[in-house]
């Protein structure tokens, strides 16, 4: 039986003492009401997406019609072509993909190795150092923004993807944390057995831990992919040439260059940025949900 105590030790308020009659009818009504509320909320959450897609298919004239019309007519696929004309979106997509893939590779390899050091190896100072890893998550970006900018410009790295990718190769505190949580759950005997057989730590990591930790590593890869795909401040500060822009930067620029009547094109571009994200999520949603849930509860 669970005991409830406050942190300061005082007992929790006792639960009331009336008896209830469990009525199945009422339970059914409750569940219907629940569905009604949830459906309404879902509609609110989905509507902006719908509005985005609908707008992306409207002509300039129809965009500026009130009350809003939910069926584009005529359906104007040309907005997508116009969006490509207003900005080199394919170029941006390619650039963004290059950054995403590079940083995913970097972050997964480095974070896995580091997480191994923080979980499967026993050494003095390990846990103290790990507290520092967690603490570093609290550091606001503003504090490092300027010195990093100065370092990267001294290195002549502005207008390249290096400031956006190189740091990924040094691990990421959040991912290290996620992977460590996962590694700790792998029974110790596995590695001990391998050690007895003379395997070194890298071999153990590669041959035993990595195959078992694949789900966690996929979660990390997905998170990083999304992070890089969504990142705005980094490209904003470091990338100057239009031909090296990322999608996020390109969309923001489009929004400031184009006006109200071109919202069809802007929404077409937004749809093209959002679609791959939704696609990835559709394929791999359990990794997301589990990753997020793990970050909160076990923290």
């Amino acid at each position: 039986m669970a005991t409830l105590t406050r942190r300061d030790g005082s007992p929790l308020a006792p639960v009331g003492g009336r008896t209830t009659r469990a009525a199945t009818g009422r339970r059914w009504a409750g569940s219907a009401a629940r569905h009604a509320i949830l459906l309404a909320c879902s509609a609110v959450f989905v509507l902006p997406f719908v509005w985005m897609v609908v707008t992306s298919l409207k002509s300039n004239q129809q965009v500026l019609v009130y009350p809003p019309e939910w069926i584009p007519s005529p359906v104007r696929w040309r907005n997508y072509l116009d969006a490509f004309e207003a900005a080199p979106l394919l170029r941006y997509a390619w650039n963004t993909t290059v950054i995403c893939v590079t940083s995913v590779v970097g972050v997964v390899i480095s974070s896995t190795v580091v997480a191994y050091g923080f979980s499967r190896l026993e050494w003095r100072g390990r846990d103290a150092l790990f507290v520092v890893v967690l603490a570093s998550l609290m550091l606001p970006f503003q504090v490092t923004l300027i010195p990093l900018f100065i370092i990267f410009s001294r290195l002549d790295w502005t207008n390249t993807y290096l400031p956006l990718t190189v740091p990924a190769f040094f691990g990421n505190a959040f991912y290290i944390f996620l992977l460590r949580q996962f590694f700790l759950r792998i029974p110790r005997d596995y590695s001990d057995a391998a050690r007895v057989e003379g395997a070194n730590e890298l071999q153990i990591l590669w041959q035993i831990i990595v195959p078992l930790a694949r789900p966690a590593m996929i979660t990390v890869a997905l998170f990083q992919f999304l992070f890089a795909w969504n990142d705005f401040l980094g490209p904003l500060i470091y990338i100057s040439e239009e031909s090296r822009f990322t999608l996020a930067l390109g969309l923001a620029t489009m929004r400031s260059n184009l006006g109200l009547s071109e919202f069809g094109q802007i929404m077409a571009a937004a749809t093209m940025i959002v679609a791959p994200v939704l696609l990835i999520f559709a394929v791999a949603q359990r990794y997301f949900i589990e990753g997020i849930a793990a970050s909160g509860v076990k923290g």
Binding site: M1, P48, G117, V143, F232, M267, A270
Partner: protein
């Protein structure tokens, strides 16, 4: 909980105590070495990309550094000027406004949705996806979508408000409504917190509810006495994450309003960004960064300190 590893040095019979101690120390050193080797990518990265920058920005904050000049030592001048800078206070006020509203409403809404979902409910997975998906959409796209959704004249929300006979605000065109608009945008991204609450709720032992039901507690009483208290650690976690994110809030105001109208949405990060990258005052911006850092530390510190009064920890079940 260190568990000795079966290695040959440990079991050598006949070696004297001093030798054994030396061997132990060597082994210990080797272990530390291996450990450090494995964590070295992070260690190096943290030194270069975090530790050095933290001290460098502290250093710059005492100098009149600009993007083009290293400037001179000015002591506390940047901090002094900051205190008399109206925009600093405006932006801090805007940030606190945003923070208060988005964290409070976000917590209540995410918690409510999580509780609604935390039942053996048909379609629960689908709902969860619907609420979660907006959080993975690129923030620039989110911003652009909402500029349009909340457009004063052609936006969907004002249309709906019009239908039900409510006045339709100017949202991002109106200084009084621009910040509420941004808060609404932030609420669209509550899925992250909701999923964490949901996981927390599912960790609450069913026996507790059963026991309460036996005692005849109503649904409301069960929520008040079991669910919320047991969820307080998760709430604390989410609130802290929300605060840290809120203090770093940048992309939506940058893309949607650019800080306007009339500075109504000029949040701290935006002003800091302008200071550094539009007015090139790196030293001054570094001082701003450090003031923010200290504020964050104080706020989280106070929150953690006082959390003992309202955060409950579950004993015995784990």
């Amino acid at each position: 909980m260190a568990i000795a590893q079966p290695t040959s040095t440990f079991a050598l019979p006949g070696a004297d105590a001093a030798d054994r101690r030396a061997a132990l120390r060597r082994r210990e050193l080797r272990r530390i070495g291996t450990g450090l080797l494995f964590v070295s990518p992070w260690l190096v990265g943290a030194l270069v990309f975090q530790v050095y920058p933290v001290f460098a920005s502290l250093y710059y904050s005492f100098h009149s550094t600009t993007m083009l000049k290293s400037g001179t030592f000015v002591g506390f001048e940047n901090y002094r000027l900051l205190m008399s800078d109206d925009l600093f206070w405006t932006s801090l006020g805007n940030t606190l406004y945003y923070l208060g509203a988005s964290v409070l409403l976000g917590t209540v809404a995410a918690l409510a949705l999580a509780m609604l979902l935390n039942q053996r409910l048909r379609g629960m997975a689908v709902y969860r996806v619907v609420f979660y998906v907006p959080t993975i959409v690129p923030l620039v796209a989110v911003s652009v979508i909402w500029v349009w959704f909340l457009h004063p004249q052609y936006g969907v929300l004002n249309y709906v408000l019009d239908l039900v006979g409510l006045p339709s605000p100017g949202w991002f065109a109106d200084p009084a409504w621009a910040m509420p608009g941004l808060v609404i945008v932030s609420l669209w991204g509550l899925g992250n917190a909701m999923v964490i609450y949901l996981a927390g709720l599912q960790d609450i032992p069913v026996e507790l509810y059963e026991a309460a039901a036996l005692d005849g507690a109503s649904g409301w009483e069960r929520m008040k006495s079991i669910t919320v208290p047991l969820l307080t650690p998760v709430i604390l976690f989410n609130v802290i994450i929300g605060l840290i994110h809120g203090f770093q809030y940048f992309v939506p105001p940058y893309v949607i309003t650019g800080g306007g109208p009339a500075d109504a949405t000029l949040v701290y990060s935006l002003y800091l960004y302008d200071t550094a990258f539009q007015y090139f005052k790196m030293g001054y911006a570094s001082a701003m960064a450090w003031v923010l850092f200290v504020i964050i530390l104080i706020v989280t510190g106070v929150l953690l300190r006082t959390s003992g009064r309202w955060v409950f920890y579950q004993g015995g079940t784990r």
